[in-house]
């Protein structure tokens, strides 16, 4: 009989903080919209001899804000540390990060599958970006190389320092996540919170938010003693560089199956870093760590320890919006709006304020708020949220929801007439020109002099056209 397993996942999520300047210098922090590589650089973020880092207060405040929103405790005396490794995208030979005293620790995020404890939230600097290229192709030309140094067709690696030194928040969980779906839910929720607080844009495709999952399986069957096995497995697989929630979910699911198969065969999976191949939908080995890497952390001597202090902390607290979870659960009670719908409409505190006004307007106009929100989320009614006036939106809803009745027989009769009288257009629809549907819907309503549910008319038109085509063939 096969062993059954508990999936154990801990996550590390990085998000690039949206400050106007970089973490330790005054350079513009906008790596994704830079018109050219290496334009937002200076001695500090290039790691030139003699340059020194000066920490960005706004980035520290953003980190503490996120920590508070996650219910973390705050280290009143914190510091930065140097983490050493050699890589071409790291110009100083070390990354300024936080080691043993992060700004925030011990928080929680609730998911539908259970509580996920947050181990720590810390602040560090992002690295430069490497671009692997071949000379004389487009990417290389736009980087304005020095042609005398290289020859055509040569493979080169280019470095863009626009991203070097951009503030990066890292959120680390305890190994509390037990399924691929929970990992996805946690990551999405964290992004929602970060965006809501205005800390980061979390553009996944650009790498503004990066997901990492440490995955391992623990056997739960052979517990003859009846005592639940709580020990962490003797290995973990790091799934890295995932840039979408869907890939995260699929990657974890793949890993769980892969590891179960190895364990079933009586072996232990190798401790390694794996990537996810979205095309083949598999994970693959990136790096096997033979020994633990020694980053030789030590306190960054160029930056004095940071004393947070009660005055600063309460100023940060005061500047925080009402917690998003709190707003959504209040809306559910007060207006019957489902929290997942609220999350789809509302990403920022100012949007929450605006939406709250809209809900009140719906209420006053005698409209069911829950239903209206449902319509908005599924785009069954076209309005411009956050720009149209409440009055306009309420009117649209009132008109749209007051429909005339019509019997199926009568509708089918009129639809048949219209379709028969317009064979060419019906043929166009059949050949794939689906936008002609609106013509039929308009004709039907005009002929009946009634305001009908467009979806219902559409279904009828499709049915009639299909019947006709069937008869013809």
């Amino acid at each position: 009989m096969k062993e059954s397993y508990t999936t154990i996942i801990g996550m590390e999520i990085h998000a690039e903080v949206k400050t106007s300047s970089k973490m330790f210098c005054g350079c513009k922090n906008d790596p994704f919209h830079a018109p050219k590589p290496n334009i937002y650089t200076c001695p500090v973020c290039l790691g030139l001899p003699g340059a020194l880092p000066v920490p960005n207060k706004k980035a520290i405040e953003a980190t503490i804000t996120l920590g508070l929103a996650l219910g973390c405790k705050i280290n009143m005396l914190s510091k930065f540390d140097r983490k050493h490794y050699f890589y071409p995208d790291l110009p100083k030979g070390y990354q300024i990060s936080q080691y043993d005293i992060p700004f925030c620790y011990d928080g929680i995020v609730q998911t539908s599958e259970g509580t996920v404890r947050i181990r720590r939230v810390h602040l560090e600097e992002d690295t430069a970006k490497l671009m692997h290229s071949t000379i004389n192709n487009e990417a290389f030309d736009s980087a304005q190389p020095r042609p005398e140094l290289t020859s055509k067709g040569e493979h080169v690696t280019l470095i863009d320092f626009n991203r070097s030194g951009v503030p990066l928040i890292e959120v680390v969980t305890e190994p509390d996540i037990h399924s691929a779906s929970q990992a996805k839910e946690y990551a999405k929720k964290l992004r929602q919170i970060i965006r809501y607080l205005g800390i980061a844009e979390c553009d996944m495709e650009q790498g503004g938010m990066r997901l990492e999952a440490n995955i391992s399986l623990r056997g739960i069957r052979n517990q003859e003693s009846g005592i639940r096995n709580q020990e962490l497995p003797p290995y973990k697989v790091e799934l890295k560089n995932i840039n979408s929630f869907r890939f995260l979910e699929k990657g974890i699911a793949y890993e769980v199956a892969r590891q179960a198969e190895i364990l079933d065969a009586g072996k232990t999976p190798i401790q390694e870093t794996r990537g996810y191949d979205a095309e083949k939908q598999i994970t693959f080995t990136q790096r096997v760590k033979e020994t633990a890497e020694d980053y030789r952390y030590f306190p960054e001597p160029d930056i004095p320890p940071i004393r947070v202090g009660h005055t600063w902390l309460s100023a940060i607290q005061r500047a925080m919006p009402e917690p998003m979870d709190g707003v959504f659960s209040r809306w559910q009670k007060q207006y019957g709006v489902l929290p997942e719908y609220a999350g789809q409409l509302c990403e920022k505190p100012e949007q929450a304020t605006w939406l709250e006004g809209l809900f009140q307007a719906f209420d006053a106009a005698g409209l069911a708020v829950g239903m209206c929100v449902n319509f908005l989320v599924h785009k069954r009614i076209q309005v411009n949220l956050f720009s149209d006036s409440y009055e306009t939106i309420c009117n649209t809803f009132q008109q749209a929801t007051q429909l005339d009745d019509v019997s199926d027989d009568e509708l089918n009769r009129v639809v048949s007439e219209v379709v028969l009288q317009n064979p060419k257009i019906a043929a166009q629809y059949t050949s794939g020109k689906t936008q002609v549907m609106n013509f039929f819907i308009g004709q039907v309503m005009k002929r009946m002099q009634k305001k009908l549910d467009a979806k219902k008319v559409e279904r009828a038109v499709k049915k009639i056209i299909a019947q006709q085509n069937h008869e013809l063939s």
Binding site: P43, G47, L48, P49, G50, A51, L52, P53, V54, P55, R82, H84, F86, P88, P91, K92, G93, Y94, A292, D294, R296, Y297, F298, P301, D302, I303, P304
Partner: protein, 469 residues
């Protein structure tokens, strides 16, 4: 000779048109042409014609806005300078040209001072004799078979041989004070954070200090007034007010100031001439009305291990960027001494050794800070030697790195604490080699150190002695 004058005297002469900036700069170059070949103090001499042209420009609009207006100076080659190569005395950097100026350089240029050269040193600050350099050892102007001291050896020689009016050195564990003592000039290790480190190539970031080297305490006070202060580009620079050092130096009463003397400083390793010279200096201070008091510093012997664990740890990190990818040459161009320090530091920070070495050294550093606090609560300043011996022969330490480390025994303990220390001439050995002493004060007490140094120098003439070249 114009270059025998103090900065204030030069300034007065310029304003009164007794001589010109051109004359001063010309004299510097005459002396450079006369002595550079023999002493090897410079790594890079600024083009003479360009410097003289600058001097003539300055002469057109003599300004009394700053005492440093029109004054030629040199920089230890650890400070980055736009348009002039910066080597840190290492071929690893090759002919690196910085796109920006160090803050200290920019402040001096803004004050109207004229940069005429970048000075030889121990590569990356690693050394106490200015022999650990890829540009050949610096020679002592008092005896060219001897070293100049280090690591700011080239700077000290430039002042002693009157090749510049003043220099900016850098002191991590004695690098300003040791060559000052061996070349008979005055040098100040400032309070950590007093002067911006921005643009100073880091040796050990938590020890590195940027300070003046000149003929007198008075000159050092003038220079510090210009270069001190908060720099938004250096998070460790202090926002404490910059006092009017020159004024305080001249007016501050030193009567009843208490100078502490600790027996630990006068042990077996100390040369007898140096012991005698400092004993004589105590008499001068007593004549000034200063009180001499016996104190004790039991932790004195731990200075070397603390310094040689934390210093190399930080340097192993600071030099990581010179990875052979971006700058001049590969890492195998690091000298043996530098490689040794990188390896020691890497080891001290490694997993499994961190607690035993780096952390323990940091704990000892904390004890040191407390020890100094205690010492400086029973006296105002502490008087001690700068070095245990006078200048050594070139090559003497080449095969004895440990002995090389011990040259710093008196100067390494101030940097982990952060306190300032003024080194100044106080005599000569029987073999006619200069001897220096240092006055160590409380954090940000440079004004008191200047007052003591200045008033000592008004009563003595050790600092006016110069080598015959």
């Amino acid at each position: 000779m114009l270059l025998d004058k103090t900065i204030q005297e030069l300034h007065k002469g310029l304003v009164n048109k007794e001589f010109s900036v051109f004359d001063i700069v010309k004299e510097c170059y005459d002396h450079i042409e006369q002595s550079q070949r023999k002493l090897n103090a410079f790594i890079t001499v600024v083009d003479k014609d360009a410097a003289l042209k600058q001097a003539m420009e300055k002469d057109k609009a003599i300004s009394s806005s700053s005492l440093l207006y029109g004054i030629p100076f040199v920089l230890k080659d650890t400070y980055v300078s736009r348009g002039i190569r910066t080597t840190c005395a290492s071929r690893v950097l090759g002919d690196f040209i910085s796109p920006y100026n160090a803050t200290v350089l920019q402040k001096l240029l803004d004050a109207g001072a004229i940069l005429i050269g970048k000075m030889n040193m121990d590569a990356w600050g690693h050394g106490a004799t200015s022999e650990n350099t890829d540009f050949g050892p610096v020679r002592n102007p008092w005896d060219a078979t001897r070293v100049a001291g280090g690591s700011s050896g080239g700077c000290a020689v430039a002042i002693a041989a009157r090749m510049a009016v003043f220099a900016i050195g850098e002191d991590t564990g004695g690098s300003i004070r040791n060559p000052a003592a061996w070349c008979n000039i005055t040098g100040l290790k400032v309070t950590y954070g007093r002067v911006s480190r921005y643009g100073c190539i880091a040796y050990a970031s938590s020890f590195d200090t940027v300070g003046p080297m000149a003929k007198t305490a008075e000159d050092c006070a003038v220079i510090l007034g210009v270069i001190a202060g908060k720099d938004p580009y250096d998070a460790t620079s202090s926002s404490n007010d910059v006092p009017d050092y020159v004024n305080i130096m001249q007016t501050k009463k030193v009567k009843n100031v208490v100078i502490g003397i600790s027996k630990e400083f006068y042990g077996d390793g100390l040369d007898s001439d140096i012991r005698q010279a400092i004993f004589d200096a105590q008499k001068v201070f007593k004549d000034m009305g200063v009180i001499i008091k016996d104190i004790s510093m039991p932790l004195f012997d731990y200075g070397i291990p603390v310094y040689y664990l934390i210093g190399p740890s930080e340097t192993s990190s600071n030099l990581a960027r010179y990875d052979g990818v971006r700058y001049g040459n590969r890492r195998d161009y690091f000298t043996e001494e530098t490689t040794r320090r990188i390896m020691m530091g890497t080891h001290a920070l490694s997993t499994g050794y961190y607690d035993e070495y780096y952390r323990k050294a940091q704990k000892a550093r904390t004890l040191f800070i407390k020890e100094y606090e205690k010492m400086l609560s029973v006296c105002d300043v502490v008087l001690m030697p700068v070095t245990p011996t006078h200048a050594t022969k070139i090559g003497e330490f080449a095969n004895d790195p440990l002995k090389n480390l011990l040259v710093d025994v008196y100067t390494v303990s101030q940097n982990p604490v952060g306190v300032p220390s003024l080194a100044l001439p106080c005599g000569f050995s029987q073999s006619k080699l200069p001897i220096g002493m240092q006055i160590v004060g409380k954090m940000f007490s440079e004004d008191l150190l200047f007052a003591l140094g200045h008033q000592y120098q008004s009563r003595t003439n050790w600092h006016t002695q110069k080598p015959s070249l």
